[in-house]
């Protein structure tokens, strides 16, 4: 066995271990978030309820109130985590996450416009958010295209668009009634409260289509990371592959934002945390970390705040995701790692 293949085997077994541990964590947090609350369901009762043997009260609490919310948290975390990791590795820049380059801000402007100006709610707002994200992403792509996409150019153009989106949000918020503005603010933070099964179904369909697309395209991503020249030499159509991958990443971020609002920071931190656990681009660990973050943050937002306060989940992801990233930065050993 050569040194290279030995190293590869070590990396692969480490990746498997990390994925297994993350999966266990996700299962544990998911179970706790189904069981614990104002009315706590025991684990045997929980299992019985999940297979339809739990009694009317448990079924109502678990299947109607907690399970849709938990499922939505999983879907959103998966989509944000995966989208962030795809952006960061495609553009070779840790700042290239959909929340920093204006894609989620574009979704927010569009949704807040629907809420405040058109007076819409529910699915219509989600639709606007989805379209807003796609429009902004397309604009960034077209504006940063110059015989190819360079990561730095893409990020800078994205930051420019993000500033414009923030200004437009400020404009909409100052022109609205203050109560409506507060409602829009809740959407802008990202919230999972009151999730209905029908919303989960819609999110599950769009994300369920996109995840297989990512796995089909993943080999291309690995070749692109060897550099454009090498990838071309290996027979990859570089620009086409990059557009497809970016398109899928945008659609993932847009679906998640449309479903739950732009939950801060999940897309941004999932990739760096995953890279710290498994070297190289690791899409599966990134997605799992995204799930873990949203699940944990949502649980914390419901049950862990002093005085029984409940806040939208996005407040918590900002508050727990960011210090973690700060710690990563502060403790990273090599200069190139971050």
């Amino acid at each position: 066995m050569t040194v290279v293949s030995a190293a590869r085997t070590v990396r692969r077994s480490r990746a498997r271990l990390v994925i297994a541990v993350l999966l266990l964590c996700v299962l544990a947090v998911a179970a706790v978030s189904l069981a614990v609350g104002a009315y706590t369901v025991s684990i045997p009762d929980l299992l019985a309820t999940l297979v339809g043997q739990g009694g009317a009260k448990n079924e109502f609490i678990v299947l109607r109130l907690r399970l849709p919310r938990m499922t939505m948290a999983v879907l959103a975390g998966l989509a944000f985590g995966l989208a962030g990791a795809l952006f960061q590795s495609l553009l070779g820049n840790p700042l290239a996450s959909p929340d920093l380059i204006g894609i989620t801000s574009g979704a927010s402007v569009s949704a807040v416009f629907a809420i405040l100006v058109l007076g819409l709610s529910g699915f219509a707002v989600s639709g606007f958010a989805f379209v807003g994200a796609l429009v902004v992403a397309t604009a960034i792509y077209l504006l940063s295209w110059r015989s190819g996409i360079a990561g730095y150019r893409f990020v800078l153009v994205g930051i420019g668009i993000a500033f414009m989106a923030q200004a437009a949000l400020g404009y909409l918020l100052t022109r609205a009634d203050v109560r409506d503005a507060q409602g829009a603010l809740v959407w802008m933070v990202g919230s999972l409260s009151g999730t209905q099964w029908i919303e989960v179904a819609v999110a599950a369909i769009s994300i369920g289509v996109l995840v297989p697309a990512v796995s089909l395209l993943a080999p291309k991503l690995r070749m692109l990371q060897l550099g454009d020249e090498t990838a071309r030499g290996l027979g990859v159509r570089v620009d086409l592959s990059r557009v497809l991958l970016l398109g899928v990443a945008v659609a993932l971020a847009a679906s998640a934002t449309a479903a739950v609002g732009p939950i801060a920071f999940v897309a941004f931190v999932s990739g760096p945390i995953a890279r710290r656990l498994v070297p190289g681009t690791s899409l599966v660990p990134s997605a799992l970390i995204g799930i873990l973050l949203v699940l944990t943050a949502d649980f914390a937002s419901q049950h862990l705040l002093p005085g029984g306060v409940q806040v939208p989940v996005g407040i918590i992801t900002g508050a727990i995701g960011a210090p973690y990233l700060l710690w990563l930065l502060a403790s990273s050993r090599s200069r190139t790692e971050a």
Partner: protein, 331 residues
């Protein structure tokens, strides 16, 4: 006369022109001779004169001061972090100032701009120190990437805290949303007189650190080899950033983009010498911000658009055009 001096003179002419334009144009149409009369020979019974003296003069002064301070602060930040993306909005300074203002409104009942100043200052300072400390990590010296990431992270934490307060308090949201879009109107000139000495000090410090930034640009090791006290240069630059951003935010609200885009534009004419970059920025910043304010008065008549909103819509296309034309990454 060298090209760079000529450019500086042209910019100075531009500043004078933008002052005149700002005094002359607005939602209310006032003949130019009446504007001149309002300045030189005011008549208290003339409404036009009141509009010019009480509304247009203060907002022009605030625009000039805030524009200069933000542009210079952005230039220093870019030099200090060796990061072309550095901007008060990105490095957490605005978020820090905003959080403290929100806390001031909510818990201490602050309402007037003159009351916001100290909160904005303290918040900007706290956020700058935090971002810098985190970005430095164990190694004691931040890289462009770590500094920008730590700015983004700190901004996210502070924004969460701001949103939390806003969600739970309707009155604060009502005050904050108007402050946060960055307007030059309805600000208090007495607040401006408090801030002016600070901005003067900040600009003086900027002049002092500009030469040090040139040396820092060569990298820490070379800078030390040339006898530069790297730590001192960083501390002075940091103080200048805090004073300038904090002061500008105190009088005009959190205005993004001026600090990012102005040094970017002037660098194309001045080259990498920070003495020239900062000298150009101190003139171009006011032009951009006051121009944005004038545009905001004219495009949505009879109402107005806040300068902070206009500057983002003017600045973003400028930045994008710049990014498309230049070899990015090459600072």
């Amino acid at each position: 006369m060298s090209r760079r001096v000529l450019g500086l003179i042209l910019l100075a002419v531009g500043v004078v022109a933008i002052i005149l334009i700002s005094l002359a144009f607005g939602t209310r149409q006032i003949a130019f001779d009446a504007v001149v009369a309002a300045i030189l020979d005011p008549d208290p019974s003339n409404n036009d004169h009141d509009v010019v003296r009480d509304l247009r003069v203060p907002r022009t002064i605030i625009g000039l001061l805030a524009g200069a301070a933000l542009a210079v602060a952005g230039g220093i930040m870019q030099g200090l972090t060796r990061n072309p993306l550095a901007d008060p909005g990105l490095l957490g300074v605005n978020a820090g100032a905003s959080l403290f203002v929100v806390l001031g409104i909510t818990f201490l009942g602050v309402t007037a701009a003159s009351g916001y100043i100290w909160f904005a200052f303290a918040g900007a300072a706290a956020a700058t120190v935090l971002v810098y400390a985190v970005g430095s990590g164990r190694r004691g010296s931040p890289t462009p990437v770590t500094l920008t990431l730590s700015g983004a992270a700190v901004t996210a934490v502070l924004t969460s805290a701001i949103t939390l307060v806003l969600l739970s308090n309707l009155d604060t949201l009502n005050q904050y949303r108007f402050w946060s879009v960055g307007s030059l109107v309805g600000r208090d000139l007495s607040a401006v007189s408090v801030v002016v000495p600070f901005l003067g000090l900040g600009l003086l410090l900027a002049a002092i650190v500009s030469r040090m930034l040139n040396v820092l640009a060569l990298g820490d090791d070379v800078a030390r080899g040339l006898g530069q006290n790297v730590m001192l240069a960083r501390v002075l630059a940091g103080i200048a950033i805090v004073i300038l951003c904090g002061g500008a935010t105190a009088i005009a609200g959190p205005i993004v983009f001026v600090g990012l885009v102005v040094p970017h534009i002037v660098r194309r004419f001045t080259g990498p010498d920070y003495r020239w970059i900062l000298a150009y920025s101190v003139l171009l910043g006011p032009i951009l911000l006051v121009l944005a304010d004038v545009v905001g008065r004219l495009i949505v008549q009879p109402t107005e658009l806040e300068a902070g909103i206009v500057v983002a819509f003017l600045g973003a296309p400028m930045l994008i055009a710049l990014v498309r034309r230049s070899r990015v990454g090459a600072l």
